[in-house]
């Protein structure tokens, strides 16, 4: 069963700058990307989003849940 990993966007404001979950994950499950791009302008830190992508690789170690400073990550087994 593929684990469900939910990230509360309201709690995770500037993921690219925080990057704690991205760097601690032993299975490199997460990905971060801007939600928009503009000509001649870098995307603002609050216009980034982190998502759990490679969920089939998650081993439920919960390191991301523990490291998240705002408690934005929820990991659970199963689809419910």
């Amino acid at each position: 069963m593929i684990p469900q990993i939910e990230i509360d966007k309201n709690k995770c404001a500037t993921p690219y700058e925080c990057k704690k979950c991205l760097q601690i994950c032993p299975q490199a499950v997460f990905a971060v990307a801007p939600t928009k791009v503009e000509r001649f302008k870098e995307t603002a830190p609050e216009d980034y989003e982190v998502q759990a992508v490679f969920k089939d690789k998650c081993v439920l170690c919960m390191d991301c849940v523990k490291v998240c400073p705002t408690g934005a990550i929820k990991v659970k087994v199963g689809s419910s």
């Binding site: 069963m1 593929i2 993921p15 690219y16 990057k19 991205l22 760097q23 299975q27 490199a28 997460f30 990905a31 971060v32 990307a33 801007p34 928009k36 791009v37 503009e38 000509r39 001649f40 302008k41 870098e42 995307t43 998502q51 992508v53 490679f54 969920k55 089939d56 690789k57």
Partner: protein
């Protein structure tokens, strides 16, 4: 034979050594008009698009069906492993060459490759690079233009430290970049190995073979292989390369202190010549 060489090679030569595949008009075709902006966002958000596929990992039939669609897409945007020798020939053809931060590493680990350890491993190719300032988000951290000699040194430096050299196309066969990759932060290696998206990263034109006379079983190559193709055969105390898993990157040949591993032509081996 390599399908890309058949289609895009110059008289049976390797496709990525054909100067036509570095030409601007092909690049323009992909970039046309308003398509351009979303293309950049699509590239930056790359892995997000894989979530529906990965959700199906528990359902082999549905996964397989969807995987075909993803593979089809990557026939227009993908790459191939190249040897150091061939990469050096490539930078003699491609101009200009711009060094930049690896986009995959930014996406998967949020590392901007700064500070003293700054690898800035990626090389962007072609005249499009002159307009990098138009999209500062794509080229975060800026780019530096390298001479052919500097580019060769750059590639050799990172390859000898264990990075796999790959080509990336932006509208195959247009060659837009040379990347220096490792697992798991390289999305191309990962999508091929873990999800079977073959055209995202084809195997190279060579494969590695161990000379058992020379191998001392030190295990250095085992640690270096990014494809999990090398094992230590405990009883014989020799490295064993599974040539069906080998991508022919050559990292092990440089890692071996005994010089016991060499690259041989894939197409000379009937059992591997159709294995890309």
């Amino acid at each position: 034979m390599c399908e890309l060489c058949e289609k895009y090679g110059d008289n049976g030569g390797r496709w990525y050594l054909n100067p036509e595949n570095y030409a601007r008009p092909l690049y323009k075709k992909v970039e046309k008009g308003k398509e351009k902006e979303p293309m950049i966002l699509t590239e930056l958000q790359g892995p997000f698009y894989y979530k529906p596929l990965i959700e199906l990992k528990d359902n082999p039939e549905a996964f397989e069906k969807m995987r075909e669609g993803y593979s089809k897409f990557h026939e227009t945007m993908g790459g191939q492993v190249v040897s150091l020798e061939d990469a050096k020939k490539m930078v003699e053809i491609a101009q200009p060459i711009a060094r930049m931060d690896c986009i995959c590493r930014r996406i998967t680990r949020a590392t901007l490759e700064d500070g003293e350890q700054r690898p800035r491993t990626c090389l962007g190719l072609g005249v499009g690079m002159f307009r990098w300032e138009e999209w500062p988000e794509r080229y975060k951290g800026g780019v530096e233009f390298l001479s052919t000699e500097e580019a060769k040194e750059h590639i050799e430096h990172w390859h000898k430290r264990g990075m796999v050299i790959t080509i990336m196309t932006f509208g195959t066969p247009y060659i837009g970049g040379i990347c220096l990759c490792d697992y798991p932060d390289c999305l191309a290696i990962r999508m091929r190995l873990d999800y079977g998206i073959k055209p995202m990263l084809l195997k190279g034109h060579q494969v590695a073979k161990v000379n058992y006379e020379e191998c001392t079983g030190c295990g250095t190559c085992v640690q270096r292989c990014q494809f999990g193709a090398i094992k230590m055969e405990v009883t014989t105390k020799k490295s064993n390369i599974d040539m069906t898993r080998c991508f022919g990157c050559g990292v092990c040949t440089y890692a071996c202190p005994q010089d016991a591993i060499s690259l041989i032509d894939r197409e000379k081996l009937p059992g591997l010549k159709e294995e890309w």
